[in-house]
Symmetry: none
Subunit: 214 residues, 4 copies
């Protein structure tokens, strides 16, 4: 598939033909799963569908994954494994609230734009969006939460409720990402600028209010 940025197979340093085949098959299955999930949505998709999108035998699937759920998780984790370190690094290098917030959104939206297929495979569902945990894992909800807390402690961000702020960042990120998926949807740059200004303005307002009422 067109998934250049995502490390679909993160195999140690195994060499030799055997290892190559294993890595290759795992990859083949994940690519097929990506395509199938994007097409049918997670719940309509079946293991059979994934295997059929492959040149492998059905039994072979089970040498690599126990179930549809496991492939999905692998896909999600592969996505997270690519995105989350970028997000972390970005935030850890931030020396201002603006860098912290803007870096987060820009990294996320750029990733979404560059990996539309993956995002689609993981998020698209006809009736019901994607599992709560999905976002949390992909976006590293917990990591973000602790980074937000630390940023507040370090004075980069105003003293606001970290749980709420984290939720707001994640909610904005994924909801705007959805709009980006549409044909003629906005680009990553304008999305980043909007979201950043919203959060920065919003958080200053929150502290201003707190001071006023405090």
């Amino acid at each position: 598939m067109n998934a250049p940025l995502i490390a679909t197979d993160i195999l140690p340093a195994s060499r030799g033909r055997r290892a190559h085949t294993k890595a290759h098959n795992r990859r083949v299955i994940l690519d097929a799963a990506r395509q199938v999930f994007a097409e049918l949505g997670y719940d309509q998709a079946t293991v059979r569908d994934i295997v059929r999108a492959t040149s492998l035998a059905s039994g072979t699937f089970y040498n690599y994954f126990k179930s549809k759920e496991e492939v999905f998780e692998a896909l999600r984790d592969a996505t997270a494994a690519t995105l989350r370190p970028q997000l972390r690094e970005q935030r850890h290098q931030a020396v201002s609230g603006k860098e912290f917030i803007e870096g987060t959104f820009r990294t996320f939206f750029s990733f979404v734009a560059a990996n539309r297929a993956d995002f689609d495979a993981i998020m698209r569902n006809d009736l019901v969006p994607a599992r709560v945990n999905t976002w949390e894992i992909i976006a590293g909800f917990d990591e973000l939460h602790s980074d937000v807390k630390s940023a507040i402690d370090r004075g980069l961000l105003p003293k606001v409720d970290a749980v709420f702020l984290t939720a707001a960042i994640v909610g904005i990120a994924f909801q705007i990402a959805e709009t980006m998926q549409k044909p003629d949807g906005p680009d990553a740059d304008s999305a980043s600028r909007f979201a950043t200004a919203l959060i920065l303005g919003g958080t200053s307002n929150l502290t201003a209010q707190a001071k006023a009422s405090g």
Copy 2:
């Protein structure tokens, strides 16, 4: 809708009472579906599960709904039918940006708090959150979008991108609603205040920036 107060009404073995009206049975099925979806999530749930949670015969289900999907949609639409008019009215009566935004969030979060079971049934999914369109339908994405545009036109809200703003409101609303579902999660009031201040501060900041750069 908000049927937690209505017991599942299992008439023991009282056949003969054809007080089993059609409306009643429809209700019974919807209640069962609510419970089953909340417990198992949409994609794990089966029609059988729903029927089993009922005292009805399997065939009876199909006198009311064609499929699992249809019950889900009925549940979602019933939720939307309760919530959306409240949201609309709230916003149409708003004479300030604060009222517009705060009314929206307060109505939404209060609803979520009061209808935890419904929200759970519709949103909870083990692997993949509720179908994309679910939110849009429940929250009335399109209605919100047009109300936001109109509020901007009327000068209630600053001139910002209405699509982004709508997405931000919806994203924040649902993501914070998720945190509210947790035990010891925040209450509707503090959620409303946080979200309102965030959006109001954020939007002023957006126009301030625009002026500065314009």
Copy 3:
């Protein structure tokens, strides 16, 4: 339906509103069945289909017929009840082999042409033609057989095997009737002339051979 020649309801001489309704409903069901069988074929059709083609309630069906099979048989018997007496009379009045044979075919083919819908309802099946007994009953196989024997005895027809001859007449009749059902299929008159000449020539030949070899 368009079934003018077929006595769908042969009720004694019952008068009064009640009787009228009963007769009427029976008729309604038979008409619906005719249409449904012609459309779907006997085995695809269900009692539900027949009831649906009616303004009656499903339970009402069972006041008139026990099953799909029973309606089919009623339809077939109504057809037979119209056709067979005509055939019998025709043959009993015959004073020559030609009249006997030609009368049989002409009556049959005319009936088929005039009652295409009924013929279709009874004969049409996607995969498997119509039950052996169907023909036998409609055409009055046994009656024909005994009439054929009697015609041979009376010297109207040559002395040939009556069982074979009966089968031949019936086989030709129904198979040619099939071709008549097709758009631009042959008309009853030419079908009758062909079949008659075939049987008459065939039977003389059979006796000629018998004499030669005897």
Copy 4:
């Protein structure tokens, strides 16, 4: 085809022998279907009935056939595949009308006599005989029609309406075949002689008449 000699091959509990080849299982299913169709008739028979008559698992059926209809067609086509080439060859070698007609009937009736089980499985239906197309396919209606036309052109057969003649041959063949199925029914030889003489005498008569009236 003619598999009455082949026992259903129920290997007791001998799992492990993967000598169960695909071809073997297909055969097992077809044999079971033959038996079930002959017993219950096409429309009463269910896929379950066929599977039950087998030592296979229910899912296995669907590895070989998509539906009851498909097995039926396979059975019918297998019958046709055996019979039709014989019929064709017979007719193509015919150097006289008698050979043409007699060869056709003799081949057909001998086949029916020798393959009573198949014929039964395909033709027997409680209420409605075998699907219309069944005969045409088994007998090769279209092939027969074109062979008849060509025989007329070559002067083997008199100039009569080929459509009628084809229908007559097929009708006689199948109707007489039915009588052969009965206990103490006629044998293939006498059936062939009767049918042949009938058609030959019939067709000469038809041309004689035509000349007379022409």
